[in-house]
């Protein structure tokens, strides 16, 4: 066994241990902390799988933004979590659940190990089509060119999630803003973080967006990083969540899918098919779409974390 293999096995065991902690932790808050650590470890697994794009997404969204969402909501539920500890299900349920889970995991593991070799793949087709897009990163090409329809619709899923989250507001707060993300008087360390990390994070985000056409990165990852920066600013109370009826906010939330659809419809005139790009112009159009996707992702994720309007006024 080489050193790398030992490290791999160690990483796998660590991921599983933290996952167990997520499930078994007594308090909600402990489970949430475990889950954030779990997401970061998982990002390393993705790097070992030669999936840097996924690793970035997992670290930024799966661990980072989801972490902020769960930490803020877990804190609100903290008191209630203790009271309900008595309502734990009985031993028989635990045993049957364990048996069922073991069965599912075993069957899945068996099937995964028996998947056909050599593995079927679309990598050759991707190699063939990649030149026409002018991109160097095939994952970006899948997301914005070949399966762009999925990506556009997934933005609609995010938008409907925003509508769903807002819809649980009280009627009297409609048109107002969500509650602030942080406490009234942020501590010095948080302000320091805001003043040093945020400019750096914005630079990193813009860089990741810019290189995404050819190297790992792109609108998703960069958008998530920018979203995280905006949330840090809001937690430090240097900015407040915007009102839900702000026209600028709403335009930012729909701009990604809207530009995507306009470009997609224009495709039938310019390239003969909906969502097709004309020869030679694919890359600039793709970057144009991605710029608006970046804006939409950077706006949507914090809005989902901030939750429904909880006060009748706002910035």
């Amino acid at each position: 066994m080489s050193v790398l293999q030992i490290l791999d096995v160690g990483l796998a065991l660590l991921v599983l241990a933290v996952a167990v902690w997520t499930i078994a932790a007594r308090e909600i808050f402990g489970a949430v902390v475990a889950y954030v650590a779990y997401g970061l470890l998982l990002a390393i697994v993705w790097i070992r799988l030669f999936a840097p794009d996924v690793a970035l997404t997992e670290a930024a969204i799966g661990s980072g933004v989801t972490g902020i969402l769960l930490v803020t909501s877990g804190a609100r539920l903290k008191s209630a979590g203790k009271a309900s500890a008595a309502a734990k299900p009985g031993l028989s349920l635990h045993l049957s659940a364990a048996a069922l889970s073991l069965l599912a995991a075993t069957a899945l593991a068996g099937v995964i190990l028996a998947l056909p070799e050599p593995s079927p793949t679309l990598a050759p087709e991707a190699r063939q089509e990649l030149a026409a897009t002018g991109l160097g990163n095939p994952v970006t090409a899948v997301l914005i060119a070949w399966r762009s329809f999925d990506t556009m619709l997934e933005k609609i899923v995010l938008l409907l999630a925003v509508v769903g989250v807002w819809s649980v507001a009280s009627d009297r707060f409609w048109g107002g803003a969500p509650a602030p993300l942080g406490r009234a008087n942020p501590q010095g360390a948080l302000l320091l973080l805001e003043q040093t990390l945020v400019p750096l994070g914005i630079l990193v985000g813009v860089h990741i967006f810019w290189v995404g056409a050819n190297a790992p990165g792109g609108a998703f990852q960069a958008g998530a990083i920018l979203a995280a920066m905006w949330m840090i600013v809001m937690i430090a109370r240097a900015s407040e969540p915007p009102r839900v009826n702000s026209l600028w906010l709403r335009l930012a939330l729909i701009s990604g899918p809207a530009v995507f659809i306009v470009a997609g419809l224009a495709g039938i005139g310019m390239a003969g098919n909906f969502f097709a790009y004309p020869d030679g112009f694919a890359k600039p159009i793709i970057l144009f779409i991605e710029a608006f996707m970046l804006l939409t992702i950077a706006a949507t994720l914090p809005v989902l974390v901030a939750g429904p309007p909880r006060r009748s006024f706002g910035p």
Partner: protein, 114 residues
């Protein structure tokens, strides 16, 4: 054992672990965590499929990797919607459990017509 085989086994274990947590944890927020564990297990299955599909000079098949990126974003949206519902329910009732049978699951008279 190659990293992709190992990741496949981890993925299978995560699905099992998440399923267990989903069944035994009565708190909705813990169920959401369990869902996310299952989800990341499923994404790892896509991940090993992508890695095993290395060909034509790419160290991976890009299509399943792109599907994982879409999936991670959707999973986050699901968590956010669930959290909003849980917090609102908590504000209204102080309730954090879903599994107790309560008469409140019947429609109220006023609510029926609205």
């Amino acid at each position: 054992m190659t990293p992709s085989t190992l990741a496949g086994l981890v993925g299978a274990a995560l699905v099992g672990l998440g399923l267990y947590g989903l069944i035994v944890n009565p708190q909705p927020l813990r169920k959401i965590l369990a869902f996310n564990l299952i989800g990341s297990g499923v994404f790892l299955v896509f991940g090993i499929v992508a890695r095993k599909g290395a060909a034509a000079g790419f160290p991976f098949d890009p299509v399943p990797q792109a599907m994982v990126i879409t999936g991670i974003v959707v999973a986050f949206a699901a968590s956010a919607l669930a959290v909003a519902l849980i917090l609102r329910l908590h504000e209204e009732t102080g309730q954090v459990l879903l599994d107790d049978e309560n008469p409140a699951s019947l429609p109220s008279e006023q609510g029926a017509g609205k």
